[in-house]
């Protein structure tokens, strides 16, 4: 009971603040000029991004450099965690070997349900990312949904099942690098034809084969999807190495 006293005080404070302060705040009745500009120009207009989804067009077109640096911050974080778990070639090979008392995952029921759900997750995440310029969603959202699929496989089968089917840490890092390189190249392409860095229209075609692709937005979304999903997967694969294996490596290094 004693533990609930701070919570009750907190709730009373919040209700009091809401009751006394909220009526005094000024009401926002109209759009701000900047917001009105984005709403009017994201699909129609002279400074258009040719995307019906305003959030994505702000993220990757009007405020593109912000998102570029955000992405670089995320990748510096992933590089930090990769550095913490770094292993040399021999140790990496050894970490792929199954331990002696390894038991084969969970039961058949869980494995078959996981198989169905992983396919569903892949489809949904790809649709979130590749429809990012049409419906809510985008590269980061799709990529983080994609990263749930290897997580489920690690939980239901094991990390060795992923590695036997070819998705090991090195491959994940290669995919991540392809994604980053793609983002950088798409950002630099407009400079070749005399535009600005990360410019979208009219350098990239707004329609490909009759489908609305919103210029560069679909490329950015796709590469970000690849990079975020593969980056998270690499971190999960490293974290899923049992602690015993790391302890063994450390002991051996201390002996040498």
């Amino acid at each position: 009971m004693k533990r609930l006293v701070p919570l009750i005080i907190l709730l009373i404070t919040i209700f009091g603040l809401a009751y006394y302060i909220t009526p005094k705040l000024p009401q926002q009745t109209e759009l701000r000029p900047l917001g009105e500009f984005y709403l009017k120009n994201s699909y129609f207009g002279d400074y258009s991004a040719k995307s019906p989804e305003v959030v994505t067009s702000i993220l990757w077109d009007y405020r593109g450099l912000d998102t570029l640096f955000e992405t670089s911050v995320f990748f510096i974080a992933i590089i930090g965690s990769l550095t913490l778990f770094r292993l040399n070639k021999k140790q990496e090979e050894e970490a792929k070997q199954k331990a002696e008392e390894f038991r084969i995952g969970l039961t058949l029921i869980i494995k078959s349900v996981t198989r169905v759900i992983v396919v569903m997750i892949l489809a949904v995440s790809a649709s979130i990312a590749l429809h990012g310029h049409l419906t809510p969603g985008g590269g980061f959202q799709g990529g983080s949904a994609l990263a749930v699929a290897p997580l489920l496989i690690i939980a239901a089968y094991s990390k060795y099942a992923l590695e036997e089917h070819g998705l090991d840490k090195t491959r994940a890092l290669i995919f991540r690098s392809i994604g980053l390189l793609g983002i950088a190249l798409v950002a630099l392409v407009p400079l070749l034809s005399g535009g600005f860095l990360m410019q979208n229209q009219p350098i990239f075609p707004a329609k490909l084969g009759g489908q609305l692709v919103s210029g560069s937005l679909i490329y950015y979304n796709f590469f970000e999807f690849l990079a975020v999903g593969a980056g998270f997967t690499a971190v999960f694969l490293l974290l899923a190495i049992p602690e015993k294996v790391f302890k063994k490596f450390l002991r051996r290094e201390a002996n040498e």
């Binding site: 533990r3 701070p6 919570l7 907190l10 709730l11 919040i14 959030v55 994505t56 979130i128 809510p136 969603g137 985008g138 980061f140 959202q141 983080s144 949904a145 990263a147 749930v148 997580l151 939980a155 998270f232 971190v235 999960f236 974290l239 899923a240 602690e243």
Partner: protein, 84 residues
């Protein structure tokens, strides 16, 4: 109609507040991770009521799935109970 939405927003945000408080004072780390996942679900509903579907898509995947899983990995590598 807007009153119903504001009431739903109030309820979900208070549920989130209560569960985040429980997650802070809990000594068992696994239970605290569960509380934090419930808090994330409540806040995802709040973001949906506030008409931010982009945030909801990223928030559900990261805060319920990836964040909880990372913390469970970390707990499995260290200790479960918090000793003061």
């Amino acid at each position: 109609m807007i009153e119903i939405h504001l009431l739903m927003l109030l309820i979900t945000v208070i549920i989130g507040l209560i569960f985040s408080y429980l997650a802070i004072i809990e000594k068992d780390s696994l239970k605290a991770i569960g509380f934090s996942a419930v808090h994330a679900i409540a806040y995802a509903i709040a973001f949906y009521i506030l008409m931010a579907p982009d945030i909801v898509l990223a928030y559900v995947a990261v805060a319920v799935g990836i964040y909880s899983a990372l913390l469970i990995f970390v707990v499995s590598k260290t200790e479960r109970y918090e000793v003061v």
